[in-house]
Structures are given as structure tokens and as C-alpha cells.
């Protein structure tokens, strides 16, 4: 009678638990990184849908006439707005932050690889360098957010509030929603910083920084798209 083994136990010596600082019970670094990246890719889909939806509303609303109650005629109520020049500077700041973020990602990834290579007994990988690139990204991200707020103040000073005209409504909507999403990235950078301070494993830190970096790049790309929409489709 044939016997069949259809399962494997984790106690089996042929199965490596891996040792990348992940701790017992966790999948290895490559699996965790792949899973985190896949999760991020999936998570970005609804963010994309949100802005696709706003864009479609933008295009539809732009073309709609409205009834003037005084003349009883259909008129356009979409007033094109000259965007504050500050937004261009903010764009430069965000792109620069994205560059620093990418440098940080590569740096941390290298450290994770080093830690993996030096995980033999007697070799410590705990003495990690601090990560100035991450700090720079964080600072530039905060500068960008402050710049966006300053641009809002400029708009208001010119008499364009959120309900003044549909075009101003969309400027506040798109910049505001993007800023909220970028704050999520800032929060993730804080998490990465805390992970660094708490001496979490290089693998964990690397994964946090890696997915934050891709998210950050996506936010930068999204901002350039929003700026083009507001500038060229108004």
C-alpha cells in the first residue's frame, strides 16, 4: 500500500528558516519585500481611481454651462485661474525629495544586503549609519506641504476661495487631496525613522523604506499630472 506525504513541517531540516533578522515565524526578506511591493501596487490602484474620477469630473464640469438668473441665458461660470508660480517651486522641491528618497532606498537596501551577508556569528550589522537622505526627503516633503499651503494663501489673497468658481474648487480639491496622500508618505518616513532609532532589523527597515520610496515617486508623478491638468486643461 502506498503511503503519501502531502505536507511538510517547518521543523524539517531541509527547510531553511532563513536568517535575515526577520525573526522566527516570518517569511524571508525577498518574500516580504515582494509581498510589500505587490501590496503597494494594489493599494495605489484606488488612489489612481480617485484621481481619475476627479479628473473626469474636472473635464465634465468645465464644459457645463449654467443659467444666469438675471438674463435667463446660459453662460459659462468656469473662470480660468493663473496658478501661483510658487507651485512650480514646490514641484521642484518634490522632485528633489524624490531623488533623495531614491538614494535612501538604495542605501538602505545595500545595508540590508550587508546585514544579510554579515549575519554570521560574531559579525554585527547593528552598527548602522544614520540615513541623511531619509531626513532630507522628510524635510523636503514638509517644505512641499508648507509651500502648497502658502500657494493656497496666495490664491485666497487673489480672491479665489474654494467656492468662488468651479476652477478654484478643483484647484483646492486636487492639491488638498494630493497633500493628504503625501502626508501618508511623511508618516511612513517617520515610521522608517522610528524603525531606525529602535534598531529594528535592517530587513524590516529596508522594506518600509522601499515601499515608501515607490509611494513617494508615485506621489511625485501624480503631482506633475495634477499640475499639467490644472495648467493645460483650464
Amino acid at each position: 500500500m502506498a503511503t503519501f506525504t502531502t505536507t511538510a513541517t517547518v521543523d524539517d531540516p531541509r527547510i531553511s528558516l532563513g536568517d535575515d533578522g526577520s525573526g522566527p515565524g516570518l517569511p524571508d526578506y525577498a518574500t516580504r519585500l515582494r509581498r510589500a511591493r505587490l501590496g503597494l501596487l494594489v493599494a495605489l490602484t484606488p488612489v489612481l481611481m480617485l484621481f481619475v474620477s476627479f479628473s473626469s469630473a474636472y473635464v465634465v464640469r468645465q464644459g457645463l454651462p449654467t443659467l444666469d438668473p438675471r438674463t435667463n441665458a446660459l453662460v459659462r461660470d468656469w473662470i480660468p485661474i493663473t496658478l501661483p508660480r510658487l507651485l512650480l517651486i514646490n514641484t521642484g522641491v518634490l522632485i528633489l525629495s524624490s531623488v533623495f528618497m531614491e538614494l535612501a532606498r538604495r542605501q538602505v537596501k545595500g545595508q540590508a544586503a550587508l546585514a544579510s551577508a554579515t549575519s554570521a556569528p560574531g559579525v554585527s550589522a547593528a552598527d548602522q549609519k544614520r540615513i541623511p537622505c531619509l531626513s532630507m526627503t522628510l524635510v523636503l516633503g514638509l517644505v512641499f506641504l508648507f509651500g502648497q499651503w502658502a500657494a493656497w494663501k496666495q490664491l485666497a489673497a487673489n480672491g479665489f476661495y474654494v467656492a468662488t468658481t468651479p476652477s478654484s474648487s478643483f484647484i483646492y480639491l486636487l492639491t488638498g487631496t494630493h497633500a493628504i496622500h503625501l502626508m501618508g508618505g511623511v508618516l511612513a518616513l517617520f515610521v522608517a525613522g522610528i524603525a531606525s532609532l529602535l534598531h529594528r532589523s535592517p530587513a524590516t527597515r529596508s522594506i518600509v523604506v522601499d515601499v515608501t520610496a515607490w509611494y513617494w515617486h508615485f506621489m511625485a508623478g501624480l503631482w506633475i499630472y495634477i499640475l499639467c491638468l490644472l495648467e493645460f486643461a483650464s
Partner: protein
């Protein structure tokens, strides 16, 4: 010959929790989270049913004074309509099949120890729970709950002064749905990542049970649809509270200009229905998956046309995003646009028919075991056909214009989206209860429950089609004084009586559910002699699902009645079946 296969190591990412709070409240275990979703939906369904009973009483006795509640005013009736629809669609039909059963069984059925992101999974439940609390809070604020219907059509929903309930109650309604969207998106993220990245060795996509396919495609639909609903909700909140005019045109209330101008109510409808139609499939696809699973198990036959079923699920999901305009034939859209939406809508009939005929093909010449889960699965097919067959009627603009604002439409969508999905939930409950709680549900009570529900459902919703064809308009609160509808009052009364009896029948289910948890007959690990992975593990499953083991899959999910096999089913983990020569 012995087969030795070893899976890539994949153990549980978090230790078994100790203590009540970590184990049962803020649990990271997908099984506990699944149960939390299930019981949230159970609570929500009773709120929704209670509201529907009030509506039914009001429709036949509009001047009745109810104990504790007093008389129901027309605006209160609209509030009941709104909250019944919203709670049922979001917190029952979206929550139980996907959040409940999907969470519990998707990881086990693919051989994973948990969801990909357990913390996110916990957050998704508590976000949904918060959404439900905010939704209920709308009942208790000044003005009460909103009256703009579950579809929230602007400008009624966009103006605070449009009526009672359109103040803070409507804001809470929108915020609740926004919170729900975020919770649902977190859930969808987990479902997709887990399915793509955590399948056991040998669990290829084409060996996944159809339940997993259904949950997977449903998650994709949610991922694409809820973001759009969220965007519409944000715009609506801005119109209501910041004075913008995305959805509100130049409009007066009691002769006074509102200050809005230029917005488009149709824009709301487009955004809402871009979400709203896929939402129908978000509710029904998991039930289709469960039905496919159960028909195969209890017919003791492989599912008829597995690949066709998979492609049909994908086609339904894809086409679901192409047909939102059929909800808007009354909006004055171009006949050419309406024609396009009409054709696409009727196109969905093709994959739906493939599924239906495959279900019938599975039943044909099967050695059918008429257990309670099987009864509900067959009931699902019946309701799906009965409710679905009126779909092609409504898909034609010329017919829809006649029928759209009548009872024909509630009859249609309650059968196909509401009760068919609920039957899927019942079938899944009876089927998986032994695995979840280690005991069997009482079969006699289950059968009584089935017949009450099956006959009751038809008694309630079939007459609504006739009411609609006879011209009874929906959404109006007091139609008993309208002369041309006098002859329809007896039918309305019949529906109300049927609703009372059917809802009373649901108490049998509740008693059975809780009684069986503690007093039911002890269940074996595989009481239904089924083949999928959840039946290879202990009952109830251990914290890491497979007790430190990782299953290795060799077979498809529906290997029943295999020639030459020692028994009439071959588990997915059994040695690979060789084709007969």
C-alpha cells in the same frame, strides 16, 4: 511509491494571541476577523429587516400609530427607504460574503497561514465597524437620518436645507460610506495580495476553488469601484459644507436661491453608478462562488466547465464596469448612448447564462445529497434565474422608461442582488459552520428555515413585478388613497403579511445558529466529504490554519466520482490523479 513534497516555508507571521482582547477583539487572525465581519453583518441585517417591516406596515396602513414609534410621516418613510437600502447593501451584502466568509476561508483554501497583511486586516474590520456606528448615529441626530435614498441623488443629497434629515444626518451618511470605502479598500488589498502571493505549493490559479476566484475578482471590483465612490462622496461633502457646485445647478428652495450654480446632478449619477453597478457584482459574485462549490460537493460531481466558470466570473467582472448607464436611462441621455449601454448590459447575460447552465450541468445525473447547504445553493440558482431574467427587460431603454420608477425594479433587484446573495450567505453558513465552530447545525431547523425563506422570498418579491407592471410607483409613502391603485392594495397587503412570516422564519436560523454553537452534534474534520483544503485541517482550524504544516496541492478542487479512486472524492492534497488510459 511514496510522494514527498516539501513546501517553501511559510509559517504564521504572528504568534497565537493570549487574552480576550487580543484574541477576540483586536485580533490579527483572519478567522476571528471573518467571524467579526459575519456577526457585524448579522446585526446589520436585523436593523435592515426591522426598517423594512416598518416600511411594509406603512405601505398598507399609512395612518397606523406604532407602539414606541408613533405614526410614520412621509419623510420618515423616505428615511426608512434610505437606511434600509444603505445598511443592506453596504453592511450586509458587501460585508458578510466577502468580509466574513472570504476572510475566514480564502487563506485556508489557498493553503496560507493568514492574510498577507494581518494588521491591515484588523484595521479594515474596525474601520467598517466604525462606519456602521456612524451610519446608525444618523438616526439619532437632529433631523434624523437622510431621505435621499441609498443612491444619494443630487441635488436632494447636496443641499442641507432640502428636507429633514438632509442636515447632519446626511453628512453622517456620507462620512459613514467614506469610512466604509476605506475599510473595503484595505480588505480588497489583502484579498488580492494574499491570492496572488501566498498560495501553497501546487495551488495554481486554475486549481483554486471557484469561491477563491469569486472573492479575488470581487476584491478587484472593490478596488476599482470604491475609490470612485469615495471621490463622489468627497465632492458631495464639499457641495454640502463648503459651498462648491459640483453637483448642484442653479436651484431654489421655497423661492430662495441656494447660492449654487452650474453643477451637474448627472455627474453624481455617473460617478455613483460607476461604483453602483459593480457593487451589484460585489454582492453576488461571492454567492456565485459558494453556489458553484456547494453544487459540486453535494452532486458528487466535478463542477461542469471549471474553466468556463472562471472566464465567466472574469467576464462578469469586466462587463460590470461597462454598463452603469443602464441605471440612468431616465436621465435624458442620448438614445445612442442608451443603446450602447443596453447592448453591453444584455451582453452580461452571456456569462451569466454560462454559469447557470454549468450549474444545471453539474446537477444533471449527479448523486445529489439534499443537505441544507445544498437546498440553499439550489435556491440561489432559482432566485438568480428568476431575478436575472427580468434584467434583459430592464436593459431595454423603452421598457425601462415604463418600469423604472415602479415596483418592478425593487422586485428585480431584491431577487437577484438581495435575496440571491443572502441565500449564498445561508448556504455558506450551513456548509462551513462545522469547520468554524466544530459542531453541526440542526438539520431539521435548517430545512424549516429554507422553506420559510424560499417560499417567503417568492411571495414577497414576485408580486412586486406585477405591481410594477400595473403601474404602482415606488418610493412614494402613501398610495392607499390613489384611486387607480385601489385594486392593488390587497396585493400590497399580501406582500406585507408574507414579509412578516418570512422574517419570523429567520428567527429559526438565529436560534439554530446560536444553539448549534454550544449544543450541536460534534462535527468531524470533513463532514461533507469535500475536497478543498479547509477540510484537510482540524476543526476548528488551529491558529496557523494547518498546525505547523504547509499543504501541498496536487489536484483540482472538484475531483468527485473519479474512476478508480478508492472513494468518491479526491482531496486536493491527495496524490495526483493520473488520467485513465
Amino acid at each position: 511509491m511514496a510522494t514527498h513534497d516539501f513546501a517553501a516555508q511559510e509559517t504564521h507571521a504572528h504568534a497565537a494571541p493570549q487574552g480576550f482582547i487580543r484574541k477576540w477583539v483586536f485580533s490579527l487572525d483572519h478567522k476571528v476577523i471573518g467571524l467579526q465581519y459575519y456577526f457585524l453583518a448579522l446585526a446589520a441585517v436585523f436593523v435592515g429587516m426591522f426598517l423594512s417591516l416598518l416600511m411594509r406596515i406603512h405601505l398598507v396602513a399609512p395612518t397606523a400609530v406604532l407602539p414606541f414609534l408613533g405614526d410614520i410621516k412621509p419623510e420618515t418613510y423616505l428615511m426608512l427607504v434610505t437606511m434600509h437600502g444603505t445598511i443592506m447593501v453596504f453592511f450586509v451584502l458587501t460585508t458578510a460574503p466577502q468580509g466574513g466568509f472570504g476572510n475566514y476561508f480564502l487563506p485556508i483554501q489557498i493553503g496560507a497561514p493568514d492574510m498577507a497583511f494581518p494588521v491591515l486586516n484588523m484595521l479594515s474590520f474596525w474601520t467598517t465597524f466604525l462606519g456602521f456606528i456612524v451610519m446608525l448615529a444618523a438616526f439619532f441626530v437632529a433631523g434624523g437620518a437622510p431621505l435621499h435614498g441609498w443612491t444619494g441623488y443630487a441635488p436632494l443629497s447636496a443641499l442641507q436645507s432640502a428636507g429633514p434629515g438632509e442636515g447632519l444626518g446626511a453628512d453622517l451618511w456620507i462620512i459613514s460610506i467614506a469610512i466604509f470605502c476605506i475599510g473595503a479598500l484595505m480588505g480588497a488589498l489583502n484579498f488580492i495580495t494574499t491570492t496572488l502571493d501566498m498560495r501553497a505549493k501546487g495551488m495554481t490559479m486554475m486549481r483554486m476553488p471557484l469561491t477563491v476566484w469569486a472573492w479575488f475578482v470581487t476584491a478587484i471590483l472593490g478596488l476599482l469601484a470604491f475609490g470612485v465612490l469615495l471621490s463622489a462622496g468627497i465632492l458631495l461633502l464639499m457641495d454640502r459644507n463648503l459651498g462648491t457646485s459640483f453637483f448642484v445647478p442653479l436651484v431654489t428652495i421655497n423661492g430662495q436661491l441656494t447660492g449654487h450654480k452650474g453643477g451637474s446632478p448627472l455627474l453624481w449619477q455617473h460617478l455613483f453608478w460607476f461604483f453602483g453597478h459593480p457593487e451589484v457584482y460585489i454582492a453576488i459574485l461571492p454567492a456565485m462562488g459558494m453556489c458553484s462549490q456547494l453544487l459540486s460537493v453535494f452532486s458528487r460531481k466535478p463542477i461542469f466547465g471549471y474553466k468556463a466558470m472562471v472566464y465567466a466570473i472574469l467576464a462578469i467582472g469586466f462587463l460590470g464596469f461597462m454598463v452603469w448607464g443602464h441605471h440612468m436611462f431616465m436621465s435624458g441621455m442620448s438614445p445612442y448612448t442608451a443603446f450602447a449601454f443596453s447592448i453591453m448590459t444584455m451582453g452580461i447575460g452571456v456569462p451569466s447564462a454560462i454559469k447557470t447552465f454549468n450549474w444545471l450541468g453539474t446537477l444533471m445525473r449527479g448523486r445529489i445529497r439534499f443537505t441544507s447547504p445544498m437546498l440553499f445553493a439550489i435556491g440561489f440558482v432559482s432566485l438568480f434565474v428568476s431575478g436575472g431574467i427580468s434584467g434583459p427587460f430592464l436593459a431595454q431603454p423603452v421598457l425601462d422608461i415604463q418600469l423604472h420608477d415602479t415596483y418592478f425594479v425593487p422586485g428585480h433587484f431584491h431577487l437577484i442582488m438581495g435575496v440571491a446573495s443572502i441565500f449564498g450567505i445561508f448556504a455558506a453558513t450551513y456548509y462551513w459552520f462545522p469547520k468554524m465552530f466544530g459542531r453541526m447545525m440542526n438539520e431539521s431547523m435548517a430545512r424549516w428555515h429554507f422553506w420559510f425563506s424560499f417560499i417567503g422570498t417568492y411571495a414577497i418579491f414576485m408580486p412586486m413585478h406585477y405591481l410594477g407592471m400595473a403601474g404602482m410607483p415606488r418610493r412614494y409613502s402613501q398610495m392607499t388613497e390613489v384611486a387607480y391603485l385601489f385594486h392593488l392594495i390587497p396585493l400590497q397587503k399580501f406582500i406585507t403579511y408574507a414579509a412578516f412570516v418570512t422574517i419570523a422564519g429567520q428567527l429559526i436560523f438565529v436560534v439554530n445558529l446560536f444553539w448549534s454553537m454550544f449544543k450541536g452534534k460534534k462535527a468531524s474534520d470533513n463532514p461533507w466529504e469535500a475536497t478543498t483544503l479547509e477540510w484537510t485541517t482540524a476543526t476548528p482550524p488551529p491558529h496557523d490554519n494547518f498546525g505547523g504544516h504547509t499543504p501541498v496541492v496536487h489536484n483540482g478542487p472538484y475531483e468527485y466520482n473519479v474512476p478508480g479512486a478508492p472513494r468518491d472524492y479526491v482531496m486536493q492534497t491527495d496524490p495526483e490523479i493520473k488520467p485513465a488510459h
